[in-house]
């Protein structure tokens, strides 16, 4: 069903907790704000964060004549969301599946969701390099307009895992659109002193080393963390923040891609 999608964007890391779900949701929300028609697919089966972040918990997926109908954030249906979170009875239910079962769920997510015409499909992935990743990459290989955005935080422990993820993308043939460095520096709300809690600059150097485009630096901004649970775009709520600028820029260049006929 991905033939009707103009561009697929995989949000990947290798490292856990670096902000993949935050980036996926903010990217999708920014794209929607700029007038695109967007789908957001959450393939994190063990820890789906998207329903919570977008304030869609408790919504359910319906089976339509042509497949699963995603949950829409807005009445105009410009942002559709699919997540295993919508299929669980309770928000505390754990999905304890081994690889093969996870793989078949993800295949269903890729094949059986009725997204209709989309400009962008953003895919949020779980941490690590597991069956979920291998399956999604294998299934996306034949999809022409598909690329990955890698999210990292600046410290070595994270960079180390993201280097492995770059190898993974290269092996599976998924082009990398670029790297985002998240949680780089924190400005004290009382004295404005900036502390690099998780160091700083690591994502930028990694991009240079791996000869990949660098897409921007996001500081630690508790206001961004607090948008989680409310489903609100940073570009609208905190338009002057550097986070909004980075997402604005990424979306502008993505828009450019589309209008240049990819």
């Amino acid at each position: 069903m991905l033939e009707q999608v103009k561009q697929v964007i995989l949000v990947l890391s290798g490292k856990g907790g670096v902000g993949k779900s935050t980036v996926s949701t903010q990217l999708a929300l920014t794209l929607k704000e700029k007038g695109f028609k967007v789908g957001l697919l959450d393939i994190d089966l063990c820890g789906p964060s998207v329903p919570y972040i977008l304030n869609l918990e408790g919504k359910s997926i319906h089976q339509g004549p042509e497949g699963w109908i995603p949950v829409y954030l807005d009445p105009e249906q410009r942002l559709g969301v699919m997540s295993i979170g919508f299929l669980l009875n309770s928000r505390n239910d754990a999905v304890v599946w081994r690889g093969p079962k996870k793989s078949s769920m993800i295949k269903q997510f890729l094949e059986d969701v009725c997204w209709q015409d989309l400009d962008f499909l953003v895919i949020d992935t779980p941490p690590g390099t597991s069956d979920e990743h291998i399956t999604v990459m294998e299934n996306l290989r034949p999809v022409k307009n598909c690329a990955a955005i890698l999210v990292t935080t600046p410290q070595e422990v994270a960079i180390e895992d993201v280097r492995k993820e770059i190898t993974f993308c290269r092996k599976t043939g998924i082009p990398i659109m670029g790297i985002i460095e998240n949680m780089s520096g924190y400005e004290c709300p009382s004295c404005s002193h900036c502390t690099n809690i998780f160091s700083s600059g690591g994502g930028h150097s990694l991009a240079e080393l791996a000869k990949l485009p660098f897409l921007g630096t996001l500081p630690i901004d508790p206001r961004v963390g607090q948008l989680a649970g409310r489903g609100l775009p940073a570009v609208k709520e905190i338009p002057d923040s550097s986070t909004s600028k980075v997402f604005g820029n990424i979306v502008d260049s993505l828009g450019g891609l589309l209008s240049n006929g990819l």
């Binding site: 290798g14 895992d161 492995k164 809690i197 508790p222």
Partner: protein, 317 residues
């Protein structure tokens, strides 16, 4: 042995799955009759081998979290150092069960070391006299090497780690796990069922995005009858090094770990603050507990170590 036999079709749910033999993928599978009968295929002989191998390991603790990046690996290394420093006569081993993103060789400062396979098994790498480590990181050629394995292959590796590492006598074996509830976790629990696990230390951060996954993890523990030793809240508060004012970087909008522990009736072991020097020590492989013994994080850690020891001793008597 994996749960997907060689001759099974691509979408085999695995012989241990509740759906074994019953799903559409099973149609035509040569094993369908056996699987559908639900007859147990007999206990994996590895369980007995692992029980023997680990019979000289007193307490086995899993460090878990459904959420990624909350500090499982950091906490594992801190607990390792904390336990080892507390009493030079006890021996601690750390098993890094994160196959795709092994962090322990870096965090413990032993990157680039080699493990040797002798007649009695793999010998772990010694971080200090009474602290040893085994990690897949020691087996990779370059830092760019990626382990791209599906579940069954990872399970095989975990089985090997549990059955073939020659730890010697250990008082504590701490097992660092990857994020989530995946093949690795299921295999650890399954393979260790004979040897016996003291329990799980669950790590979280204060915000709801993390707690959401951690509640699932605790349910997972209950499902597989793994006792929860307690919960550690990491990255709780941040104290500005310039003006000493406190801020919540990951705000506990739903009451943080304390409230979750009350709701779920599990023990709260303590909270560790965000400390930029701790992150730096992890990157450099330095022992934070020795470098900054008076920091609030290390003071909290000592209390946590004491509670864990108390729980383990109590459960083994």
């Amino acid at each position: 042995m994996s749960n997907v036999p060689e001759n099974a079709p691509h979408h085999c749910p695995g012989t241990q799955s509740e759906d074994a033999g019953k799903v559409s993928a099973c149609a035509g599978c040569p094993n369908q009759n056996i699987c559908a009968s639900g007859l147990p295929s007999g206990p994996d002989p590895a369980i007995e081998i692992i029980r023997n191998r680990l019979s000289n390991v007193k307490h086995k603790i899993l460090i878990l979290s459904g959420k990624g990046g909350v500090g499982k690996s950091t906490v594992t290394s801190l607990l390792g150092h904390g336990l080892a420093a507390k009493n030079p006569d006890i021996n601690i081993g750390i098993l890094d069960a994160d196959i795709c993103g092994p962090s322990q060789p870096r965090v413990l400062g032993v990157r680039g070391e080699q493990v040797h396979n002798s007649g009695s098994g793999w010998s772990p790498v010694y971080v200090k006299d009474n602290l040893s480590l085994m990690s897949i990181g020691f087996l990779l050629g370059s830092p760019d090497d990626a382990v791209i394995w599906r579940g069954p292959k990872k399970n095989g590796m975990i089985k090997q780690f549990l059955s073939e590492v020659d730890w010697g006598d250990l008082d504590y074996l701490l097992i660092d796990t990857p994020p989530g509830t995946s093949d690795e976790h299921l295999s650890l629990v399954q393979y260790l069922c004979g040897a016996g696990v003291s329990g799980a230390v669950v790590v979280t951060t204060p915000q709801e995005v993390a707690l959401l996954d951690v509640r699932k993890e605790i349910h997972f523990c209950r499902k597989v009858a793994l006792p929860v030793i307690g919960v550690i809240e990491n990255m709780s508060l941040f104290v500005c090094p310039n003006c000493h004012s406190r801020s919540e970087i990951f705000p506990a909008t739903t009451g943080g770990a304390v409230q979750m522990c009350t709701e779920m009736d599990v023990r709260m072991l303590g909270a560790l603050p965000l400390d930029p020097l701790l992150a730096r020590c992890c990157d450099a492989g330095d022992d934070f507990t020795a470098q900054l013994p008076h920091s609030p994080a290390v003071q909290q850690l000592r209390l946590i170590v004491d509670s864990i020891i108390a729980v383990c001793e109590e459960s083994s008597t």
